[in-house]
């Protein structure tokens, strides 16, 4: 690439000073004249129907301005997936308010008042009568013959027998008595699945295997706990809705809000300069954001809705817990020859979150079984919404498989790093499910083995392995390794920037600024290609009235890959135009010119890019954006048209080819020390090595590899949801009670490393790294615990000390393996 080295260098991001000094303004920091405040009335029941509401006393209170009911919401609207596919509106989908709450804590109505104290007092003055309905918070309880349903229609999404191509409906899924025969022994029943696929001869593989294991494991439900809750400020001005709210995509959230509000995208302006985390829970915002918008319209005043930490625990989202049963056959050298996986995913009573079903794909890629069968089901319950959380499905797949790999290595006498190396994906690694033509898919590249080798050396694996399981006093240490993988990028988005006559480069960034710094990092690619010093690059972000191009959501580790490609495409476009302008202005052949050091030159003839920008305006047409490519997204066309005539425009769609699916990989290493007299343990050390192609911004990269690793560690250490099944109500409603990991729970000096080999299927070589580190963090710790305490101690995560101590005390697992939310 260019002479100015930006890619691979650390730098000060444009938002850093504001963040560390507190000047950065998040949605709830804004104030507008005449602003009202909204508060929510939440359902006290896990499932109920509102019979009657008397708001007369509340409405009579001074300062109360409006009450919003579910009946006033726009009808459920279509949704768009991460990849831009439209899914038709579902009449049973989640909305901002409801008269039939399907979980305790679900918003039922909202009050707008002059301040929050008045709004809260108004809610306490509302007489509301609920008719309690049948409920269930545990999927296995629901699946039992005659078990309770979370919705009147049933407990699962499916297509009715007579209409296999029609829309999905909620129906009853039930497993027969015979399916439960091994439940008492802690084995997950494998009843009728909702999805299944296979490849290879699984039975033959088991028959030929040296070792066959059959293990059940359960992963926890974990709330996202984003730092900034789902607060939003809305007001209407000149017929447009202005909204301040956090999101994982500035550009795509406009479409969501427009859809939920039944507006045209031109009628919505989103202000979202800073977002306090998303982790997948607000890919394109949150439907709850419509409440202040609707109240603002109803009261003709700006409305601020500040979501509290407790409310965030209900509406913010939960990673679905998955029960898994894994039957795995190994050859004597540790090669995984046959694999049979059954997963049961927990879900709320709205749309199905696909983790349980999608886990099979990552398992197949990461462990490369020679033959595999996958089956899975997702069951609805009366618990809060499950949403995608960093490495959705992938994390659960890793957590289900890693204990099996560890146990197999121990039983076969193979080193833990070695068994993962033997089974690691390499290069264009194949994985299931098979495509329509029966062929397996494959990855663009994988350097998992290199990551394992590098980590094993840096972590001093051999030394730590040697002291694993050795007891000193009441303490015993254990060292663990885990591999992990997830999607690392998408394709097909647009880049847009203008170099103006002032000689500066103005980059339009539609990426959400949710803390990963990719909103700025990816544009370093274009700046480097243009030979622009970073000081002369301005990033325009966070305000959708400022002409932002079509951009991926920052979910599924897409951004670094997708938007570095788009930046590359836009820069290539601008370079070609600059060379043409130089040839037209200075003479000679465009092909003999080169762009570098803020100039375009053929060695003898030179123009500055500032001069090129002036010429671009004079020439017009494609050069300054008056003529645009036909293959860019409509959103980009609108944005670029508004910027036309300001200078040399780089605008292009990422049309680069890609052979394979893009995935990133991580190897994680942990050492723990367990006190066998208390069960309490400490993570002594952790390190992780990422394989996600070329590194664009090392400091941000390390932040992801370790930060997401810590998110994963929460799943091993203590984080979970807790429900009383008899009442269907949560009993851990405060943040501390759900026990997310804190900085003092993790080692002080964790290290990270990157393989840093370019992905061959993308021009910049970079893949995303937001997800793969999570499973590595979770499973490295669980594997280290197993190395210290032996197999069959931990049957579910988190591995809390009560369960460790009881297993040590009794010499066998004592916990309930399959009861939900304990």
């Amino acid at each position: 690439m260019g002479d100015t080295r930006l890619v691979g260098q650390n730098y000060t991001t444009p938002d850093l000073h504001a963040k560390v000094t507190g000047r950065s303004k998040y949605a709830e920091d804004f104030r507008v004249d005449g602003m009202l405040f909204a508060k929510l009335l939440l359902s006290p029941f896990p499932h109920a129907r509102v019979r009657s509401v008397d708001t007369s006393a509340a409405e009579a209170m001074p300062g109360v301005r409006a009450i919003l009911r579910a009946s006033e919401l726009p009808e459920p609207a279509d949704t768009v997936t991460d990849l831009g596919e439209t899914i038709r509106a579902n009449p049973l989908s989640e909305r901002a308010l409801t008269d039939e709450p399907v979980y305790a804590g679900e918003p039922v109505l909202a009050v707008a008042a002059v301040d929050e104290e008045t709004a809260a007092a108004a809610i306490e003055a509302i007489r509301i009568d609920f008719e309690p309905l049948e409920f269930v918070v545990d999927p296995l309880v629901s699946l039992r013959p005659g078990g309770p349903n979370p919705r009147e229609q049933g407990n699962s999404w499916g297509r009715p027998a007579g209409n296999p191509t029609g829309p999905l409906v909620v129906q009853r899924l039930e497993w027969s008595e015979a399916d439960w025969s091994e439940y008492a022994e802690g084995r997950l029943p494998a009843g009728t699945p909702q999805a299944q696929w296979s490849y290879g001869d699984v039975e033959a593989g088991f028959a030929a295997a040296t070792l066959v294991l059959d293990e059940t494991f359960s992963t926890p439900n974990t709330q996202h706990h984003v730092l900034e809750p789902r607060s939003a400020l809305a007001y209407w001005r000149d017929g447009k809705l202005y909204m301040h709210a956090g999101t994982q995509s500035a550009v795509q959230t406009v479409a969501s809000i427009a859809r939920w509000m039944r507006l045209d995208v031109s009628e919505v302006v989103l202000l979202t300069e800073y977002t306090g985390g998303g982790f997948g829970s607000r890919a394109t915002g949150a439907v709850i954001y419509t409440i202040p918008a609707l109240l603002a319209r109803k009261t003709n005043a700006p409305v601020m809705m500040r979501i509290t930490r407790e409310e965030e625990q209900y509406i913010g989202g939960i990673r679905p817990g998955v029960h898994g049963r894994v039957k795995a056959g190994f050859a004597s050298d540790g090669r995984l020859v046959a694999l049979d996986v059954f997963t049961l995913g927990e879900n709320h009573a709205y749309e199905a979150q696909g983790d349980a079903i999608s886990s099979g794909r990552i398992i197949s890629l990461l462990y490369q079984p020679q033959a595999m069968r996958f089956r899975g089901a997702t069951v609805l319950t009366n618990t809060p919404p499950r949403r995608a959380q960093s490495q959705p499905g992938g994390l659960q797949g890793v957590m289900l498989m890693e204990p099996v790999m560890s146990k197999a290595a121990r039983q076969l006498g193979i080193d833990q790093v070695e068994i993962r190396r033997i089974n690691a994906p390499a290069g264009k690694a194949k994985f299931g499910p098979p495509a329509g033509n029966g062929e397996l898919q494959y990855s663009t590249s994988s350097f998992m083995r290199e990551a394992l080798a590098r980590g094993s050396e840096m972590f001093d694996w051999e030394t730590r392995k040697a002291r694993s399981g050795q007891r000193q006093g009441s303490k015993v240490r254990g060292a663990g390794v885990a591999v992990s993988s997830f999607v690392g990028g998408s394709v097909g988005f647009d880049g847009l920037f203008v170099i103006r006559p002032d000689g500066r480069m103005y980059v339009q960034s539609g990426v959400g600024n949710l803390g990963t710094e990719s909103y700025s990092d990816v544009h370093r690619v274009a700046a480097e290609m243009m030979g622009m010093p970073w000081e002369k690059v301005a990033i325009i972000w966070g305000d959708t009235s400022q002409h932002l191009p079509w951009t991926c959501v920052s979910g599924g580790s897409q951004t670094t890959h997708a938007m570095s490609r788009a930046a590359h495409a836009a820069a290539s476009d601008a370079i070609a135009k600059a060379k043409e302008i130089a040839a037209r202005t200075l003479g000679g052949n465009a092909a003999s010119y080169r762009v570098a050091n803020e100039r375009v030159s053929d060695g003898t003839r030179t123009m500055t890019l500032a001069e090129v920008a002036r010429r671009a305006i004079a020439l017009g047409g494609k050069y300054d954006g008056h003529e645009l490519p036909t293959n860019i997204n409509r959103v980009t066309t609108v944005a670029a048209s508004a910027l036309a005539g300001r200078g040399l425009m780089g605008v292009a769609r990422d049309d680069y080819g890609r052979d394979g699916g893009t995935f990133s990989f991580v190897a994680g290493f942990a050492e723990v020390e367990v006190d066998v007299e208390t069960g309490q343990y400490q993570v002594l050390d952790y390190m992780a090595v990422g394989d996600s192609g070329t590194i664009i911004h090392p400091r941000a990269y390390g932040g992801q590899v370790l930060g997401r690793g810590v998110l994963g560690m929460g799943h091993a250490l203590a984080q979970k949801t807790v429900y009383d099944q008899h009442y269907g109500l949560p009993v851990a409603t405060r943040l501390y009670q759900s026990r997310p990991p804190t900085i003092l729970d993790v080692p002080r000096n964790m290290k990270w490393e990157a393989v840093n080999l370019p992905d061959p299927e993308t021009p910049v070589g970079a893949r995303g790294i937001g997800e793969a580190p999570v499973g590595a963090g979770a499973s490295a710790i669980l594997n280290a615990l197993a190395a210290a305490l032996g197999d069959d101690v931990i049957r579910r995560a988190p591995a809390t000390l009560d369960n460790l101590l009881m297993a040590l005390e009794h010499g066998r697992p004592m916990q309930e393996p399959l009861t939900a939310h304990i």
Binding site: I123, Y736, R739, T742, E809
Partner: protein
């Protein structure tokens, strides 16, 4: 009527600047007043709107309630002294290390900077059902939601439960009992002094409260006599996270030994009952015995006599047994002190 959380209802706020004014305010407003020391427990009650006092008396301006003073080889600690100050005070570290150890393991650094010693020992139980406003015995109702077949009672009592199965969550309380501390309580012009072990009450005595404080009462001072200064101490807290967690079980001990024999001992366990339990039977059994593994083993067995675990808290039985063993062994075995 509907309920809502996380918005504090209005109240009249008093911030007295001296102790007499504080006591006068409490006298004047009686049961209508809520006292706030560091607020680490009280603010949750206010945020949940489960307590909506008309009057709040906030004590941060009362300097007489802060500080640690040397008195006759012992210490007098103002109830408003922060847990960080207690944990870092040289005299506490030097002579009464279990108290600094206990204070240093409370919650998180931020909470220790704000939370007070008086507040830590006087805080209410953290039973999730009770704190959620369920109408249980402790809240004046007629059932215990934490003691049912489906109840989540992993953090509840294994000993001395009586209808209510909640536990006292304090980390410093067991240490203070082990040090034979005294609580100085003022009401108007009167002062009474209560031994630490008598400050705490179980549900059989008072199912609504964890301590003897009544409306108008103010805990002003915690006195620690010289009795146990420099003894062999042990404190350990077992919890789910390394920080920001209440104890699952904690233990505090003070042991005097001579010639390898235990001359006198205090052994106190927290978070296993509604009050921190001073294990007098253990103390009797180990006194006069050799300070060795056999004595520690026996102490552990005696400690858990009469335990009645619930569905999810059976682990507290071996945990308490093992912690008491360690507490008797003192410096002999593993320690996080």
């Amino acid at each position: 009527m509907a309920t809502i959380h996380d918005v504090i209802a209005p109240f009249q706020l008093f911030q007295p600047t001296n102790l007499d004014d504080a006591l006068d305010l409490l006298d004047e407003h009686g049961e209508a007043a809520m006292v706030i020391a560091g607020g680490m427990d009280s603010l949750d009650w206010l945020k949940d709107r489960l307590r909506q006092p008309q009057v709040v008396v906030e004590l941060s301006q009362v300097s007489e309630l802060r500080g640690i003073r040397e008195v006759d080889g012992g210490l007098e600690i103002g109830a408003m002294t922060t847990l960080t100050e207690v944990a870092e005070h040289p005299a506490v570290i030097d002579r009464f290390k279990i108290l600094s150890d206990a204070a240093a393991l409370v919650a998180s650094p931020q909470i220790r900077n704000q939370g007070t010693l008086g507040g830590n020992i006087s805080q209410d139980t953290r039973c999730t059902y009770y704190r959620r406003g369920w109408a249980c015995y402790r809240a004046g109702g007629n059932t215990c939601y934490a003691d049912t077949p489906t109840a989540i009672n992993r953090e509840h009592a294994i000993l001395e439960a009586s209808r209510c199965v909640a536990v006292n969550p304090s980390d410093t309380a067991p240490a203070l009992i082990a040090l034979d501390a005294e609580m100085v309580i003022r009401r108007g012009g009167r002062e009474r002094v209560v031994e630490a072990d008598d400050y705490f009450v179980g549900p059989d005595t008072d199912i609504r409260h964890l301590n003897v404080l009544e409306p108008r009462d103010l805990l002003t001072t915690i006195r620690i006599p010289a009795t146990w200064a420099g003894a062999r101490f042990y404190f350990e807290k077992v919890r789910d996270r390394m920080v920001w967690d209440f104890p699952l079980v904690n233990v505090a001990s003070a042991v005097r030994e001579s010639g390898g024999r235990i001359v006198d001992a205090r052994v106190v366990v927290g978070a296993v009952a509604a009050r921190p339990l001073r294990l007098r039977a253990v103390e009797r059994a180990v006194t006069g015995q050799a300070l060795d593994e056999a004595t520690a083993e026996r102490a552990g067995e005696i400690a858990i006599r009469g335990n009645r675990p619930l569905r999810y808290n059976g682990y507290k039985v071996p945990l308490m047994r093992n912690l008491v063993r360690r507490a008797v062994r003192g410096g002999m075995g593993a320690s996080n002190a």
